[in-house]
Amino acid sequence: MKITLNLSPAPSARDRFALVWAIPATIIGFAVLFFLGRATFQEYRDYRVIRDQLAEVEKRTAELHNEEAALRRKFDDPTNRDLLHRARFVNNLIEQRELSLTELSTRLAGLMPQDAHLTGLALTSPKRPGENYMVRMGITARNEDAVETFINDLEDAPDFKDVSIVNQGFQEQSAQPDQVNVVCMARYLPGTDINAETPSAEEPKTNSQ
């Protein structure tokens, strides 16, 4: 008679499949462990590189701080402080001498009498250090007095020097026989204090004709 009895507990699903799954689970476990280990190693290597870079940057920062402190000490020296003030003054002058064409136009418009208007403007840059800008202006006036007034005001202006008339002409055939065309030149000194200017006392006479 064949017997099928057994008082031992039936193996559970976990018992039955434990061995079946043990090998793939172990392989997967080792694979995961390998990748984790490799990733950790790589992270550690990157961390060390970044740490070295950070140390380098900190070292450089410290050096720059030292240099800054040394420079500050140097600048705090009375001799250098005086030099610094002079340099600041020179820099201000340089800044003031910077040319602005808009400023120049506005300035000339302010000097122009009512009966005259500007017909041309040319600016020549200095060719050598120390030289000034040269301004060439074409003016058309209703009469000669207006030209005179403008030339006088230009000569009195502190930011214009060495005013000279290049040529002057009359347009006899025009509708206004007194109309004068003048081309003049002057040295322009940008940044000069213009408060010292003394405007012309005489108002140009307007030509009613």
Binding site: M1, K2, I3, T4, L5, N6, L7, S8, P9, A10
Partner: protein
């Protein structure tokens, strides 16, 4: 929450469902007078090595509902010695228990549920009257041994969980514990020839006698009774018990027993077998083995096998 509540919540108090027969590679039999160990080769159906060692008296006292092992250290020590001699090469472990510690019953059913767990619960419920403990404490295994129109005959085997735990504790750490647990007499059943006539198996072990009647390859009767004293002093009692079984089977079951198979371990001299033979009125025949289970035994172990090894032969015979 009390301890039982926690165990239930943790899933530790659930009923343990038993498995089916598995062929062991290493078998251990624990009986009150001896520990027998065998190394088996199930594929070749051979007992490759067998060893027996006497167990100190009183260290194992079989009982269905009380503590069985009084000195686990001595039992483990004895088992260790005999295992070393036999050689444990791994594989599944089988445990054969004393018949007294296990309750066996033949149960009649009209039908049982197809679901194994429900069927087990039903068998356990019907078997409760045979158990001297709560059915919830029992570990049960059952087998359909007879099937007729509208009738099922089931052989139920139950052991108290706490009792079995003692035996399992002895084998703890040996190849992961027992994969097969059976009462010793059950392991002898595969050795009985398939015969239409009635046959009686008398299994005499220290402290117990089990009588099994089979007819037409069906178990018709099963009874285990305890015996006081040694076999010699119980020879007449064994004879009377055998005669009672024969009469019961003839009168109540209508089974005429032709062959009486006698398996006494250790083997008994003629002065013990004589009164039994006289009582049953038939020749006491040793259990047959229609194959050579002991063919692979080394010299010197053949006598040990003949005297103690028939349950192991039954385990390898059950494969066919």
């Amino acid at each position: 929450m009390d301890r039982a509540g926690w165990k239930k919540r943790l899933g530790m108090g659930r009923h343990v469902h038993t498995g089916t027969f598995v062929a062991p590679n290493f078998a251990v039999e624990l009986e009150p007078g001896f520990v027998a160990v065998a190394r088996l080769n199930p594929s070749k159906r051979q007992v490759q090595s067998v060893g027996v060692r006497e167990l100190p008296a009183g260290t194992l006292v079989p009982s269905p509902n009380k503590s069985n092992i009084t000195d686990i250290g001595a039992v483990r020590q004895t088992l260790s010695e005999v295992s070393e001699r036999v050689g444990n090469t791994g594989g599944r472990v089988g445990l054969l228990m004393p018949d007294i510690a296990v309750r066996v019953a033949l149960l009649q059913f009209e039908t049982i549920p197809d679901d194994h767990q429900k069927a087990e619960a039903l068998v356990l419920w019907k078997m409760r009257e045979y158990l001297p403990y709560s059915p919830e404490e029992a570990r049960l295994s059952y087998q359909v041994v007879g099937k007729q129109q509208g009738s099922l005959e089931i052989l139920g085997v139950a052991v108290r969980g706490s009792v079995l735990a003692e035996y399992e504790a002895v084998l703890a750490g040996i190849n992961g514990g027992p994969a097969l647990v059976l009462p010793a007499t059950v392991s002898l059943l595969p050795l009985l020839p398939e015969d239409a006539d009635g046959q009686l198996l008398l299994h005499l072990c220290p402290g117990a006698l089990t009588a099994v009647v089979m007819a037409s390859n069906r178990i018709r009767y099963w009874r285990t009774r305890s015996l006081e004293g040694d076999a010699a002093s119980n020879a007449e009692e064994v004879g009377r018990e055998a005669a009672r079984v024969l009469a019961t089977c003839q009168d109540n079951l209508g089974v005429q027993v032709q062959n009486v198979w006698f398996c006494a371990r250790p083997q008994q001299p003629a002065d013990v077998c004589g009164p039994i033979t006289k009582s049953v009125g038939r020749e006491l025949r040793p259990l047959p083995a229609n194959f050579l289970p002991a063919g692979g035994l080394p010299p010197g172990q053949r006598e040990t096998f003949d005297e103690f090894g028939m349950p192991f032969a039954g385990l390898v015979a059950n494969l066919s």
